[in-house]
Subunit: 337 residues, 2 copies
């Protein structure tokens, strides 16, 4: 059994044609007679030859790969968005070079790597977002799309949910529902989307001259269960709680029930963000903002297509997708008397 | 503003050295004086030059990329495993080319693509697993690791959980707990792991001459909620239920409670598989098999390293990782009287 890779030379030999004819047979633009192409394809199949993409990357400087940078996939929202993004990228005829980064240091290394592989464009789905990051992304000189974050710079576009407005909307709704002791459960400080949701929520309550009590989580279930349980044991009694994401919303609901013995929505209304599958599970029925990953992904792919067809323009657009509030049992409270 | 990519020629010009000196400066093996390397690095930094990986792929036929084929990322287990796999691959100095496939047709296209990019090895995390698939994977002539499936062939290794034994173990435990009406909730028929869990469970009950009632799900929460609710409305009263995965286990628990008005573990014990974070959430507390993704990933990376260092051996190994049964409230029943 042979271990070496089958090359176009082997195919040319078996087909009785030149090596250049093999290359042309596998190109969609080169000219070649149907009979010769047929001979090449037969030989290629017999040898199980796979055309090599690398020489064409050398010649064109375009790899046909889109780099995707993700920070973590444990939140079901990101798993699902990555699934849709990579399906869309593949449909557009590109491949996905996936890089996972944990902090700004590994981000810089990742950028070097992606540049080394000559990725044609980059999609980042990171919460990280400083001005330094934006500068480093711009310097790559390829189209960059920030998925669900808000970096700005030449060649950088961003597609995100209307986090601030959503926060303000929750405040207004809670006021209609008669909430008087509003609470906010935050994600990590580095999470820009979480900060925007908070700012909108606080502004919405500021108009009412009611202050919001703030709890700190880390975007995961356990942190929410602990933070809310601790607050309840310290005597807090929220009657409205806005959680920066649904993983924390589920943890908060369990803490309110198990630690606080509180009923939801009778004693307290809870709203989350992301509309992950678990929000709809019968044990939670958590009202939540659906960021419409389909729309976020579609907008990203649209910018990608336009950026790639006109790289000199260094496209820099911001698309804000309005989130849908999906109301469930956790807020099924009739309007205040 | 320049839009073109900075090349080694630009760096050579600014540093006042030859283009070959630039290549040698960025190679870890080539010989070059420290002073020249310093000059090159300074010029490279000034120009924001990223060394091109493509020429070296041309020369060596090795891309430094590992292809990962996934079928879907909505199950939190796969998001978490992909996160760990890609971190490990990166630590080993490789990049991840991610391909998402939905069926055997897209799988064949994916294999052509991956071969075209000259990936050095391939990890598949697919439930799909026919003999044709195995043949196509073998024909790639690169190391292939099947993550959590059981394909066999030259150059193909597999790393998976001991699904059959786990199924038998659940049957034995349920017998100790006094279960008399055992139920099995299956994943889709194409899921080989699900079939193995079922086979073990049925064999375990066969010895007792008790037959198992089988329900059909599709690995997701909603399918389990529907299948179990329907069975309950048709008069079924399981006192032991083994679910092929945790997403379905959570759906089953909600159906038993909400549709059947049954208490768990008093009326019925439930066991799942995967030990996803949701299994530990307070509303579920589902007993489950932890497949130890750390161990699965570590075994995969170990095979990968050995395969890459001796490609001529066409390594073909099977590693079965024993799953840990994590007992929680859903089975906290004292032994039968």
């Amino acid at each position: 059994m042979t271990k070496r890779v089958i090359t176009s030379i082997d195919v040319a030999r078996l087909a009785g044609v030149s090596q250049s004819a093999v290359s042309r047979a596998f190109s969609t633009t080169a000219s070649i007679s149907p009979a010769t192409r047929e001979k090449v394809f037969k030989a290629a199949e017999a040898l199980n030859y796979k055309p090599n993409r690398i020489p064409s990357i050398m010649l064109t400087g375009r790899s046909g790969m889109i780099g995707i940078i993700v920070g973590g996939l444990r939140n079901p929202l990101y798993g699902s968005a990555l699934e849709q993004l990579s399906a869309g990228i593949r449909e557009a005829g590109f491949q996905v070079l996936l890089v996972q980064v944990m902090d700004t240091v590994t981000l810089e290394m990742a950028l070097d790597t992606l540049a080394g592989y000559r990725v044609d464009a980059l999609i980042t789905a990171l919460a990280i977002g400083s001005e330094d990051t934006a500068a480093a992304l711009s310097a790559l000189n390829i189209p960059v799309i920030c998925f669900n974050s808000a970096l700005i710079g030449p060649g950088i576009s961003s597609v995100r949910s209307n986090n601030f407005d959503s926060g303000r909307r929750v405040a207004a709704l809670m006021q209609e529902w008669g909430v008087e002791r509003p609470y906010w459960l935050a994600g990590p400080v580095v999470n820009a989307a979480s900060r925007a949701r908070r700012a909108g929520f606080l502004e919405g309550w500021g108009a009412k001259k009611l202050s919001v009590t703030e709890l700190q989580g880390d975007d995961h279930y356990d942190s929410a269960f602990s933070a809310v349980s601790e607050a309840l044991r310290a005597g807090h009694r929220p009657d409205g709680l806005f959680c920066s994401n649904d993983l924390m919303g589920c943890g908060a609901l369990d803490a309110l029930k198990d630690t606080g013995g509180m009923s939801c929505p009778e004693d307290v209304v809870v709203v989350g963000y992301d509309n992950i599958p678990q929000a709809a599970w019968h044990s939670y029925q958590l009202s939540s903002f659906d960021q419409r990953p389909d729309a976020l992904v579609a907008a990203s792919l649209d910018i990608l297509a336009r950026s790639l067809s006109a790289p000199d323009e260094r496209l820099s657009e911001t698309h804000v997708i309005e989130a849908d509030l999906v109301l469930r049992r956790s807020t099924s409270r009739t309007l205040a008397p």
